[in-house]
């Protein structure tokens, strides 16, 4: 301890806050924080919508919303952390001898409490958001099943195949009508695969001898890429196919064309 001067604090909490805000280092940290917050807000609002594919279902839109808004919500926290780190970095001391001793702040109970409470709050927001979105997905699972289009999906090393029981057609591409819920019953012929129709924003593993089920609500037309998201051996990378969400008329004519060739897609 080189110096034992005691900090003279202003008399009232209000005056203390006033003095704190007026400090030059605090102002600099604040503006750095604004900068970093802005970076993350831009990242959320601009980058994710640009990177992620077009949403063809409500589920995919919910995924995108989470990516975008979680980034925006966490931006101020990133701002606080990075601004304090950056301010201290810019204040660096170079040379071969240590700098003078800093201020002996052992802890600051109000800061620890506020920090913990804030992270708890953010945590609850994230959980609540997730639970609501999860419930929306579950609600899709329990709605009137008779309305749903059913597709049986089989993963095998290294291809996807589909069977539409109602239409009685076997296909290797996945076409779906828009505005009609779809239920996928997924199974594997061999090892684990993971059925990932990218633009639909849903995913489930294909397991041997156990059927797993997911639902999707196609709400826009467009192409679908189907991939395998679980390492399944030699040609895992090539275990992909394509498909489309179509208008009901286009879907009906696609079904008819396959039924015309004996119910098996050529």
């Amino acid at each position: 301890m080189s110096d034992h001067e005691v900090e003279v604090l202003p008399p009232t909490p209000g005056a203390r806050v006033g003095a704190f805000i007026k400090r030059k280092d605090v102002a600099q940290t604040f503006w750095l924080g604004v900068f970093f917050t802005a970076v993350f807000v831009v990242l959320g609002l601009w980058a994710y919508p640009k990177w992620m594919p077009v949403a063809l279902t409500k589920q995919m839109q919910a995924n995108k919303d989470i990516m975008i808004w979680f980034t925006v919500i966490s931006a101020p926290i990133a701002g606080v952390v990075l601004s304090i780190a950056a301010k201290s970095f810019l204040n660096m001391h170079r040379g071969d001898t240590p700098p003078e001793e800093g201020i002996a702040i052992r802890t600051n109970t109000p800061v620890v409490i506020i920090w913990t409470a804030t992270s708890l709050l953010f945590c609850i927001v994230a959980i609540a958001w997730g639970i609501v979105a999860l419930n929306t997905d579950s609600a899709a699972a329990t709605r009137d099943a008779t309305k749903s289009l059913v597709v049986d999906v089989t993963g095998s090393q290294w291809a996807w195949s589909f069977y539409y029981p109602e239409e009685k057609i076997h296909t290797h591409t996945l076409n779906l009508p828009v505005d009609r819920p779809v239920t996928f019953n997924v199974i594997s012929d061999d090892v684990n695969h993971s059925f990932w129709p990218v633009q639909l924003g849903v995913k489930v593993d294909a397991n041997r001898l156990v059927t797993t089920t997911i639902e999707a609500d196609p709400s826009a037309t467009g192409p679908i890429d189907i991939k395998c998201a679980e390492l399944c051996g030699l040609y895992h990378a090539y275990m992909e196919t394509s498909g489309a969400v179509q208008t009901p008329a286009d879907f009906a004519s696609w079904v008819t064309s396959i039924q015309a060739t004996g119910g098996v897609q050529q």
Partner: protein, 621 residues
Amino acid sequence: MTTLSHAPASSRPIPNPKKSLITKLNMGTGMVVGIIFCWGTYFAMKAGRDMTDTHNVNKVLLMSMFAWSIGFLIGIGAFIGPFRWLIGKDLTDEEQLYLAGDGQGISRYFKYCTDHKVVGIQYLVGVMAMLGVGGTMAMMIRTNLAAPGSHFVTPVVYNSLVGLHGITMIVAMIIVATGPFGNYIMPIMIGAADMAFPRLNALSWWVLFTAIPVLCSAWFLGGIPTGWTAYAPLSDQAGPGMNAFVATIIIFAVSTAVAGMNITTTVVAMRAKGMKWNRVPIFVIGATISVALAIPAFPTFMVAMIQTALDRTIATGFYDANVGGSGWLYANLFWIMGHPEVYVILIPGVAALMEIAPVFVRKPLFSYNAAIAGFAGIAGLSVLVWAHHMYMSGWMPSLNGPFMITTEFISIPTGLLFLVLIGTLWRGRPWMKLPMLSVYAFIWDFLIGGITGIYLSDVPADNYLHGSMYVTAHFHYTLMGAALTGAIGGLAYWFPKMTGRMLNERGGYISFWFVQIGFNVLFLGMFIAGAEGQPRRVADYAHLFAHANLISTIGAYSVGFGMLVLLWSIIHSWRSGKIAPMNPWGAKTLEWTVPYPVPLVNFDTPPVVTSDPYGYGRSAK
């Protein structure tokens, strides 16, 4: 425990138990006996067996690998002590001193040496070798992914590269901080003469050492197709290379259990007089919590692997749905280990940086209690979150909600770690030396790793992100960006104590910037690829992902170059760097109160501790 004298090394005669077998054994004899055991077992078991049956092949290979490990340990003399006990004797004092490597120069690094400082250096060199091998595989992966349609390696080799890169790095990262620093530095930090169980300490290293050739043998047995997660039933289906993976994990689990018990006992029982729990350096707390977490975690992995071995050798069918087993059983066992393991890796790295920050900012560690609460909270919650890796497995959709809640809650203790670091930096004037740079890199990298973890823990977002490159980028930010950065900071910080020389600063700075900038380019590129929809572990990809992957590969080469510069700096500095003073950083922990070379029993007089080691700084204003 050994009964080593507290007299200074110079006043003791150099032990010379000439007639003892111990003096004749070393790594060379270990390898000879190991290889004899391995081939002996191989030929003995092969005789009369139908080797066209894969179950028999698996039996023979697995047993040969274990025989190598046991043979090596016999050959290096690991069991001489227990054998003496069996016949009612023990090692003589002279033999124990010999085992401690007293006065044996460089040769003790190749022996069954019980000195914790020797074990620390063995771990350091071993970890660097593993990181080198794992890093080379990463370069090959990124080279193959530089452009779509590349055929730099075949899909078989690519899948093996992915799996072996993964497991090599995971093993290396588990020991990267607790191995070198936990063994070399930690006992000195708490004022102990050695570890609680010096012979077990040597055992933990040499057991681990025997796993390295076993893992390497996977390449010669056709590789592994499963990735490091070794999911069943793919692992049941896999070729002979898979046996190497299985044996490696079983051997490694023994090593970590031994090391974990040893470190925990040492910290609980051997702290210096006056070192109450609230005076223990934060690195020691972090390392202890980390290994304590490993004690329940790795045996689970071992059990999972024993069941894989049984499936593959005697067709038990634990994971085979055809006979009533389930791949979900494996996935559960694996992730019950797998998620705590992430924090086993992370916590010592963060704790090392928390040790470093106060020294260079010349301020006390901000809220020591919050740091402990952060570590303890993470450790406690980490055993309750494993099934977030299985949201999309179809195993128990109804548990997705509860696991999402526990997982999100981990962000609270994790937030405390950030608070401790930025609180320590607040109003500080940091001395910008190599170790301190790692603190800043950690804050940036772990922030990205942490925030992206929040998306992944959220089930609806994980619907999209699971199994994509986004996950790969996320966990590299936490394991490499945070934990490895912490370990490199720790190396720069403790290098003077471990080698007696300063780490070359210019090389260190060049390496730091190449690695950190390259790292961020590499994995930001991978975040983009993942957000665009590229699955992970693919040998090839659509043109859509070409830009993101090219960016990643460029970043990877920058990391590779930076790491080579770091390697050069370490070798160069170790051989001919500037001689380090006893306490180059002006730190207050006990390891800086002993000279280099550190005496055999560390302290000529056992130290007495009267305060915590963070008494830096002056009163405010």
